[in-house]
Every structure is written in structure tokens, then in C-alpha cells.
């Protein structure tokens, strides 16, 4: 089990990681979500030992590994730009880690073949890595990280170059591999759909700190703050002022007065950040308290429905598509408070 404790790191004089702490237990897949430049890759490199933190410790199975050199940690790291060895073939790349572990030749050949099969690249052993497409290279990099059965796996944007089908397929593959082997894993991505599919725990990294950590559904249902909701693309973001009516919390917003769903109580007059989810909406005729009036400015086809944007910049997924310019009334869910 991996324990990160209060890691601090600056980059070019400016603070990057300002106190990161978390654990990854055996069999757990943790997903690190954050915007570009937030320090996700740096954190992985620190864990791998390629960089040193200015403050904080890293424990593996309760032992401080600060003094353990990179090549002895037996952690796996899949680099964001693959870092495949250009002068070696696919086979040689994948076999590298196994050779370092002094695995006998015969076993290596077998292991490489099965690794390739795992990522759907059977028969690619002799190809030059520089001749492969981006997607193929990425899968080779993945296979290379998995082959030596590392104690901890770290993935830096592992599926970004793949098409949707391949991504889904490999995502499931990965999840199976990770669960079967019970290897703890840290997964860095900015694709939250992927994050939610694969991980047991989602961690949101913002401004050098982990602002939320929890199972995907928890994070999904209760984003910690406005930034989290925005980053995860959970829906429309609004602000409003709280007021009470008959012991229920309401909020006054730009789109009118609406009911407020909030786990904590606010005083009247508090300014709050609000989330209005786009799902579960429908077109209606009568005026209902939780309905919104607007003119359609954009209609986009999506798998989850037609994404309809109104002139007030709010968007909803609707089962049927209105016409551009139509005046519509949309019944929505409630406003949730953030943070």
C-alpha cells in the first residue's frame, strides 16, 4: 500500500504541490483528476523517484522509500508521451523491464506475447516502434508498463490517443487487469468519464491541493466546490442568494427563484454557488416552479439526448429536439449547492 504524506513541490519558484496526502491500498485504483499544469505528472514522477519533493514523505508498506533509487522501486510508470525506445522493436521495448528483472529468455517471449494480446497488438513483436501509429504506440507503452508485474502502477493519460471503441475496450481491460492482480494503481487523466469508469477513488487536484477525494458516485453527486463541478462538466453553474420560505431553503437567481438542495443550512442572504444538472429535463407547456423559459440557440445531437442550449446559456439534454429559435419551457431538476 502506498502512502503519500504532505508532499510539497515548487516549479520555477512558484508553488505547485502544496501538501498532497493520500493512500492507495492494495487492489485500489485511484484516479487523479486536474487541469493541465496542476502537477499531476510531477506527482507521479515524485512517486516514481524521478524527482524529489521538497517536503513530505512517501511510504510503501509503511516503509519510507525516500532512499530507494528509481530502478529499485519496482513501480510501473506509463509516460504521457510514451517514451518508447526508438532504437528497439516492440518486443524489445516490452521485454526491457523483464530483462531488468532477470526473467529467463523463454518466459520473456511468452510474457511479451501475452502482453501484446492484452492490448490487442498480437503479432507486433518485430515492428519498429517508430513505424507505429499513435494509438499503437500508446498500447505498446501500456504493455511495457504492465509486463514486469510492478508493485504499483502509474498511468499518465494512458488512453488519450485511442478511438472511442478502443478506449472503452481497453478501459475495461485495464480495469480487469487491475482488479485481478490487485495491484494498486494511480491513474492520471483529464477525461472524467474515463476516470469515473475505471477508478475506485477519484481525487480532484486543484491549486496544489486535493480538494475532494471519494468514490466516483460520491464525487459525482456531491462535488466539493464550484471548480470541481466546472472541471467535471457536471452541468450549468449559477450563483444565487439564499432566502427562506416556510422552513425550506430557496435561492434567488438570474433565472428566478428556485428550490435549493443543500446538505447544510445557509443563513438568509448568503451567496452560494449552484449547480443545475442538464439531465432529467423535459419540455413542458405549463408553468411549473422548477421550469425555465428560454429561446433555443443551439441544438446538438448527443448519445444522451439532444443538447439544447438556450439564450440564457443554460443547456439541457432533452429527448426531442426543438427548433432553433423556438421559445421553450424546460422542466429541470433542482438547484444543488456547491461547497
Amino acid at each position: 500500500m502506498l502512502e503519500i504524506n504532505d508532499i510539497h513541490k515548487t516549479y520555477e519558484g512558484k508553488p505547485l504541490l502544496q501538501g498532497i496526502s493520500f493512500t492507495v491500498a492494495k487492489g485500489e485504483t485511484v484516479c487523479l483528476l486536474g487541469s493541465s499544469g496542476s502537477g499531476k505528472s510531477t506527482l507521479l514522477r515524485i512517486i516514481a523517484g524521478l524527482e524529489t519533493a521538497e517536503q513530505g514523505e512517501i511510504f510503501w508498506n509503511h516503509e519510507n522509500i525516500a532512499s530507494v533509487p528509481v530502478h529499485q522501486r519496482r513501480f510501473g510508470l506509463m509516460f504521457q508521451d510514451y517514451a518508447l525506445f526508438p532504437h528497439k522493436s516492440v518486443q524489445e521495448n516490452i521485454a526491457f523491464g523483464l530483462e531488468m528483472q532477470k526473467v529467463p529468455r523463454s518466459e520473456i517471449t511468452q510474457k511479451v506475447a501475452s502482453s501484446l494480446a492484452q492490448v490487442n497488438l498480437q503479432g507486433f513483436e518485430m515492428r519498429r516502434v517508430t513505424d507505429l501509429s499513435g494509438g499503437e504506440q500508446q498500447r505498446v507503452a501500456l504493455a511495457r508498463a504492465l509486463a514486469p508485474d510492478p508493485l504499483l502502477l502509474m498511468f499518465d493519460e494512458p488512453l488519450g490517443a485511442l478511438d472511442r471503441t478502443m478506449r472503452e475496450h481497453l478501459g475495461i481491460e485495464l480495469r480487469e487487469i487491475l482488479h485481478r492482480s490487485r495491484v494498486p494503481a494511480i491513474y492520471v487523466t483529464h477525461d472524467q468519464e474515463e476516470a469515473f469508469t475505471i477508478s475506485d477513488t477519484v481525487m480532484l487536484l486543484h491549486d496544489g491541493l486535493i480538494i475532494q477525494s471519494g468514490p466516483p458516485n460520491e464525487v459525482y453527486s456531491h462535488p466539493a466546490n464550484r471548480w470541481a463541478a466546472e472541471f467535471l462538466g457536471l452541468g450549468n453553474l449559477l450563483t444565487g442568494t439564499v432566502f427562506h420560505r416556510e422552513a425550506t431553503q430557496f435561492v434567488r437567481t438570474g433565472i428566478g427563484e428556485k428550490t435549493l438542495i443543500c446538505p447544510h443550512t445557509h443563513k438568509g442572504g448568503d451567496q452560494v454557488n449552484l449547480l443545475l444538472r442538464p439531465f432529467g429535463a423535459s419540455l413542458i407547456d405549463e408553468t411549473v416552479t422548477e421550469s425555465i423559459l428560454g429561446t433555443v440557440t443551439d441544438v446538438l445531437f448527443h448519445q444522451s439526448g439532444f443538447k439544447v442550449t438556450l439564450d440564457n446559456s443554460l443547456y439541457f439534454y432533452l429527448p426531442t429536439a426543438p427548433r432553433l429559435g423556438d421559445k421553450v419551457r424546460v422542466q429541470t431538476g433542482s438547484l444543488e449547492c456547491l461547497g
Partner: protein, 554 residues
């Protein structure tokens, strides 16, 4: 690809005209005589001995040069530290120093009356100098390392600086310790530039002349020395011609081996900005490495040459005949004397004229060899069958006997040689293979998809060159330019054997001073050598500072 023939046309024509044609003329003329051939056959065993020694000392020298040059290349490509640009320039200076000057420097340091011996004799009360340097194989080897390390340092260093550090990091995460990373990842990726450097260094050592003659004493003979003696002192041109053929064949052989090996190892890399690997030394180990390496560089490259400026401003008389007691006196007389035409000679050279002539020749050489060499190197990155065959012939000028080629020029160009332009043309002949070999690994490492991306974005082929190739290889171009510059300044090979209408350069001035006895002559030689040192160091520093337009980070 309609452009291919054009790439080859200019450099090939140039080499045909200024190398193959004169060489052919002198060889054909010499072989016509039968008596000459007979004498060669009788001396064949002796000549084979000479060939054997030539190969032996070349291999050994090359090996040592690699051993010295590679760590220094690592130093310069990975660390920033105080005085780095100056140290870097200083490692390149030896390359263009005339052997006479280098021999003088080494002798002043390690000769029978050099500083080291004098110091040892004084400290341990010895009557005879304990260290014998001049006249030993060690002297030859050290001088070769001194001269040629810069080739390794620049070619390998540039490659190394642009190596993606993440490859080594990936290997480390996969369990490779430092040694494994070096042997399995770093060295294979450096192979193209390593091979190019090895070939160039080897050819220089193989055709070594001045070093062998001046520092090796009379018991060591290489092919080139033998050719010189046969041609110039025995006036036996046929023997010289046959030896030259042997030399050329060896050069061709090694070039072919190189072509075969290098074509297999050129790999498109992701060349990174040169600064990505640079950082100040942090850990104690790193600091120690930087410190030791810097001191080593100073000892090997700077110390032998420090004697020259020292001797140009210090007067050590009167102490002739006395052993051990030196009464130094500071003087600028030698520099003053440079500006005086003491005996009203027609051939007096004002120092600035010599400097100017040297620099003009050098600049012309750089421009010509880059203009001709770049297209050829481009064409060689993905050579056609014909180009693959032609490739090894490009190295021949470096491996051809300077003496023979010089005589060939006389035959081929006769009075055209009085035309001053021919001197830099002759220099270019020597610089061209150098330039091509320096540029080739760099050009080959540019991934085609970068060029493709530029093309798709609307860049014409020339613009692709400008925006993709140039920035990435600007370091290699600078290195190639520096080489061409120093080859010209040092007047290597055949150019030292030409007839000279009076456009004296710094090197000819130095040789002239040393050909007459007298304190002022020796002093002026030292002074002019110091000027040569200063001019070269400054020029190299300037060249390195010039960033080619658009080269940016690289």
C-alpha cells in the same frame, strides 16, 4: 524527388575538380615509371611495417580520444557551470594549431627543459630530466588526444544534449540501473554521432604527419611521413604514389565500414531543445565530476598552450648554458618586434595582415563548405542505392596524403595556384567531408513527420528546411562551421604543401620565424602563436554565440 540530383551536383563537381582530378594526375604520372615501382617492391616489407604502425597508433589514439572526449561531451551537454563557454572554446583551439606550435607548447611543458622536468629536478635534486616525452609513443598519443578530442566533444556532445531525457527515465523506472541505462539506452542512441566522430578522429590519426615527425622523434614512421620522405627527400615520386594509393584504399575501406554500420543505427529521434538536459551540478558527486573534469580539461588542453603566451612575454635570458636557474623578465619586445621590419625584408608580414588573411580564408572556407556540404548531407540521410555507394568516397579527402595531393594541385592547376582564391578552395576540399559527416547524424535524426506537419501547414520545401531542419540541426551546423573554420585556420593537409604567392597567414608567419635562429625570432614565433590562439578562441566563442535565425531553443 526531382531535387536529388541538384543536391549532389555542386559538392560532387567540387570534389571532382579539387580532389579527384589533381590526385589522379599525380598518381598516373608517378606510376608510369618502372624503376620507381621496382624500388617499391623491394622495400615492400618495410612499407608494410610502416602501414602496421600507422594503423596501430591510429587505433590506439582513437580509443584514447574517445575515452577522453566522451565524458567531456557529457559534461558540456548536461551541466551549466562558471566558465563553461570559455572551456568549451578552449577544447576546440588545439585542433587548428599548427604542429610546430603544439610541439613547442608540449616541449615547453614536458620537454627535457620543460616546466615539469625542471620542477621535478629541482624538487628531487636530479641531474637529468626524469620524464622523457619527446620521441615516445606516449607523446604521439597525447598529442593526438589533445588535437582531436574536440571532434568527439562536439559531435557526441550535441547529440547528447538533444537526447530526450525521458527515455532514460523510462528505462530507470523499468528497473535499469545507471550502467544499464548507459549501455542499453544512451550509447545506442548516440551511436550515429559516436561513429561519425570515431571515423573522423581515426582518419586524422591515420594520416597524421606533423605530430609523428615532431613529437615522435625519428623512430616512428607513419604512411604519411614515409610519403613525405619519399617525395620530398628521395624525390621518389612513384614510391610516394604507391604509398598514397595504399593510404587511400585504407581510407576507403574504413569509410565503407562506417557507412554500413551507421546506416543501420540511424534512428529518428525526438530531438529536444539543447537546454533541456542542462542544469547546474547539484549533488556532491555531480559537483565533483564537474570540478575534476574542468581541471582535467585545463591540464590537457590549456596547460600545454599556456607556455606560448608565457614565452611571448617572458624573457628567460641570460641563463644560457646554466641549468636550472631561470631569471625571467617581463617584456613586450616580441610583440613590438612583430611590427618592425628589422632588415627591410620584402617578405615582412605586418601581423594584422597575417591575421586578416587567415581570417578571410577561413570565412570563405566556412561559407563554401556549408553551402556545399549541407545539401549533400541532406541527400545522404535517406540515400538511394547510388548515393550509398558514393558515400564512402566523400571521406577520401580526409584520408588522402597531403603531400601527394599538394603535388597533384601543382600538376592540375599550375599557375592558377597563384590565384589567392584557390587556397580557401583547397581548404574547403578538406573541410567538406568534415561538414558532411557532422551534419549527417543530426539531419537523419529529424522525424519525417515533423517535416510532414510543416508541409501540410503550407510550408514549401525550402520553408520546411528553414522551419524544421535548420533549427533542429543548428547546433550541428555550428559545430560543422567551427570545424571548417579551424581546418582552414590550421592549414591542414595539402594546403600546407601548395606554392604560396605572398598572402601570408599566421601559420606561415610562425613557421618563418622558427626557421631562423635568434631570441627575437623565437619570441616573435611565440607572439604570433599567441595571437593565433587568441584569434581562434575569440572566433570560436563568437561562432557559438551566433544563433542561426530561427534556431531558437536549439
Amino acid at each position: 524527388m526531382k531535387r536529388r540530383p541538384i543536391y549532389w551536383f555542386a559538392p560532387s563537381l567540387f570534389l571532382l575538380l579539387f580532389f579527384f582530378y589533381p590526385l589522379a594526375r599525380v598518381l598516373l604520372l608517378s606510376i608510369k615509371t618502372e624503376t620507381g615501382t621496382l624500388s617499391v617492391l623491394t622495400s615492400l616489407p618495410e612499407f608494410l611495417n610502416v602501414l602496421q604502425f600507422t594503423l596501430f597508433q591510429a587505433f590506439l589514439s582513437t580509443l584514447l580520444t574517445l575515452l577522453v572526449g566522451i565524458p567531456i561531451a557529457y559534461l558540456f551537454s548536461h551541466f551549466n557551470f562558471h566558465g563553461k563557454p570559455l572551456l568549451r572554446a578552449l577544447t576546440a583551439v588545439p585542433f587548428m594549431l599548427p604542429t610546430v606550435v603544439v610541439a613547442a607548447g608540449f616541449t615547453a611543458l614536458l620537454g627535457p627543459r620543460g616546466w615539469v622536468n625542471l620542477a621535478l629536478m629541482n624538487t628531487f635534486n636530479l641531474s637529468a630530466p626524469p620524464i622523457t616525452f619527446v620521441g615516445t609513443l606516449t607523446a604521439i598519443l597525447i598529442a593526438h588526444v589533445f588535437y582531436n578530442s574536440t571532434i568527439v566533444i562536439r559531435l557526441v556532445g550535441n547529440s547528447w544534449a538533444q537526447l530526450d531525457p525521458r527515455l532514460a527515465q523510462a528505462a530507470r523506472v523499468l528497473g535499469a540501473d545507471t550502467k544499464t541505462v548507459q549501455s542499453r539506452i544512451t550509447l545506442p542512441l548516440l551511436r550515429p554521432s559516436l561513429l561519425a566522430a570515431t571515423l573522423l578522429v581515426f582518419l586524422f590519426d591515420f594520416t597524421s604527419f606533423g605530430v609523428i615527425l615532431l613529437l615522435g622523434g625519428t623512430q616512428f614512421r607513419t604512411l604519411e611521413v614515409e610519403i613525405y620522405i619519399q617525395a620530398m627527400h628521395f624525390l621518389n615520386l612513384p614510391a610516394a604514389a604507391i604509398l598514397s594509393m595504399i593510404q587511400l584504399l585504407c581510407t576507403l575501406f574504413f569509410s565503407i565500414v562506417y557507412s554500413r554500420v551507421v546506416n543501420r543505427s540511424i534512428v529518428p529521434l525526438n530531438p529536444r531543445a539543447g537546454s533541456i538536459n542542462l542544469r547546474p551540478a547539484k549533488s556532491l558527486r555531480e559537483k565533483l565530476f564537474v570540478g575534476f573534469a574542468s581541471v582535467f580539461i585545463i591540464i590537457l588542453f590549456v596547460l600545454p598552450m599556456v607556455a606560448l603566451p608565457a614565452r611571448s612575454v617572458v624573457r628567460l635570458e641570460p641563463d644560457r648554458g646554466e641549468r636550472g636557474t631561470i631569471q625571467p623578465a617581463f617584456t613586450l619586445n616580441n610583440y613590438r618586434e612583430l611590427t618592425i621590419n628589422r632588415n627591410g625584408s620584402l617578405f615582412y608580414v605586418p601581423p594584422m595582415n597575417a591575421v586578416r588573411n587567415s581570417l578571410v580564408y577561413a570565412v570563405i572556407t566556412v561559407i563554401l563548405s556549408l553551402l556545399l556540404g549541407f545539401p549533400a548531407a541532406s541527400a545522404l540521410t535517406r540515400p538511394s542505392r547510388l548515393e550509398k555507394i558514393v558515400d564512402p568516397f566523400l571521406m577520401l579527402p580526409l584520408g588522402a596524403s597531403a603531400v601527394t595531393l599538394g603535388l597533384g594541385y601543382i600538376l592540375a592547376f599550375n599557375r592558377w595556384l597563384y590565384f589567392p582564391f584557390l587556397i580557401p578552395l583547397a581548404h574547403t576540399t578538406l573541410a567538406l567531408p568534415f561538414v558532411i559527416r557532422s551534419l549527417q547524424p543530426a539531419l537523419a535524426s529529424i522525424p519525417q513527420r515533423l517535416r510532414d506537419a510543416a508541409s501540410v501547414l503550407g510550408a514549401s520545401p525550402r520553408q520546411v528546411w528553414q522551419s524544421v531542419d535548420f533549427p533542429i540541426i543548428s547546433r550541428a551546423l555550428t559545430a560543422a562551421g567551427v570545424f571548417a573554420f579551424t581546418v582552414s585556420l590550421g592549414e591542414f593537409g595539402a594546403t600546407a604543401m601548395l606554392v604560396r604567392p605572398e598572402y601570408p597567414t599566421m601559420t606561415t608567419a610562425i613557421a618563418r620565424f622558427l626557421s631562423l635562429p635568434g631570441g627575437l625570432n623565437y619570441g616573435q614565433a611565440m607572439a604570433m602563436a599567441t595571437i593565433l590562439l587568441l584569434v581562434t578562441t575569440t572566433a570560436i566563442l563568437i561562432i557559438e554565440k551566433i544563433r542561426l535565425p530561427g534556431s531558437g531553443e536549439f
